[in-house]
Amino acid sequence: MQPHPDDLDLYVMGAVSDERREEIEAHVMACADCAAVLAREARLELALVEVAGAPIASIRASRRRPRRLLIAAGFLAAAGVAALFGTRLRSRPPVAPTPIVVTCPLDNHARACVDQARRHGLYVQYPIRRPVPIYESPNLAGGVIADN
C-alpha cells in the first residue's frame, strides 16, 4: 500500500493534480484510518464555509413566469416599432438545446460509456427512466449521440 497521504487537506480543497487525486483515492479506498481522516477533513472544509458566512443555500432562484411574459411583450413591442418604421426584424431560427442528459445503451459497456460521456460534459442517466438520447462510447460506435 502507498504511504498514508499527508495532503488530504489539499485534496478536500480541490488543490491536487488529477494524478495525485487518483493516488489518494486508491489509498483511501484501502485504508480505513485514512478514510476516517478524509471524512474529518471534509467536515472541516464544510465548517469553514460556514465560518466564512456562506450558507448552505447561498443562491435561490424560482421559476418566474412573469419575466417570460415581459420578454414576450417586449419582443412584440419591438416588432411593432420595427413594422412602423418599415424595417424587417431578422429572426433567428430556434436553436435546439444541446442535450446533456443521456443514457448508455448496454449494461456491460456502461462503465466505459459513462467515463467517455462525462469527459464530454454529458450526464448519464441509468437505469433508463425516460427516453433520452443515447451516448455511444467511441469504443463502440464512434461517440455518437442518437435519439433513443
Binding site: 478514510a35 471534509a42 465548517a47 469553514l48 460556514e50 443562491i59 435561490r60 462525462r118 450526464y123
Partner: protein
C-alpha cells in the same frame, strides 16, 4: 457565450444568481456553470458522511443529472444551491446504504450520526463564534485569502491568487495555516 461573458465580469453572487435563473429556464450552459461552482461541496458533503471518494463523485454526478431532469420535466420550481444538490446526493447515498443493509451484505460499520439536513449547519453557534474570533486574530492578508476562497464556491485558487496578488502556492500555504488554526479551535 453569454455565460462566459458574465463569468469574465466576475461571478460574485449576482452572476451566480443569474446562472440559477437561467438554469431554471433550461439553459444547459447555466447548469454547467452551477455544477462547476458547487460540485466540490456536494462531493464534500458525501465524504463527510464516510462515502468513499470515487462513489462520492458518481453520486454527485447522479444528483445533478436528477436535478436537470426535474427541471426539464417542469418539476423544479425553486433552485437553492448547493443545498438542493447536497440533499439529492445524500438521499442517493443513504438509499444505497439502506439497500445494501437490507440485501444482507456485510455488516456496515456504524455510520456517522444521521446527517444534518441540507439546511442545518455543521457548527454550533458557539463554535462559529469561536472560529470567527480565531479568524479575526489572523493577519489581514490571511483573512482576505480565506474569505475570497470560501465565499466564492468553485473559484480556482489561481483566480483567488490573482485577486490578492499572491502566488497559488502562497495562497494554499495560507489556507493550510488558517485551516490548522481553526481546526484547533473547533476541536477544543
Amino acid at each position: 457565450m453569454r455565460s462566459r461573458f458574465r463569468r469574465l465580469l466576475g461571478v460574485g453572487l449576482l452572476g451566480t444568481q443569474t446562472f440559477a435563473d437561467d438554469a431554471l429556464a433550461g439553459e444547459d450552459t447555466a447548469w454547467q456553470e452551477l455544477i462547476a461552482q458547487h460540485n466540490q461541496r456536494v462531493i464534500l458533503s458525501l465524504l463527510a458522511l464516510g462515502c468513499d471518494p470515487r462513489r462520492a463523485r458518481e453520486l454527485a454526478h447522479d444528483a445533478w443529472a436528477r436535478l436537470v431532469e426535474q427541471q426539464r420535466l417542469g418539476r423544479l420550481e425553486r433552485l437553492e444551491l448547493p443545498g438542493l444538490a447536497i440533499k439529492q446526493a445524500r438521499f442517493l447515498f443513504f438509499d444505497e446504504v439502506r439497500r445494501r443493509k437490507s440485501g444482507g451484505e456485510e455488516e456496515l460499520s456504524a455510520l456517522p450520526d444521521p446527517a444534518p439536513s441540507a439546511e442545518e449547519r455543521y457548527l454550533t453557534r458557539v463554535q462559529l463564534e469561536r472560529a470567527r474570533a480565531a479568524l479575526a486574530r489572523c493577519p489581514e492578508s490571511a483573512r482576505r485569502v480565506f474569505q475570497i476562497v470560501y465565499e466564492n464556491p468553485g473559484m480556482p485558487h489561481a483566480e483567488a491568487a490573482a485577486q490578492v496578488g499572491l502566488s497559488v502556492q502562497r495562497v494554499r500555504q495560507i489556507l493550510c495555516e488558517v485551516r490548522k488554526q481553526l481546526r484547533a479551535v473547533l476541536e477544543e
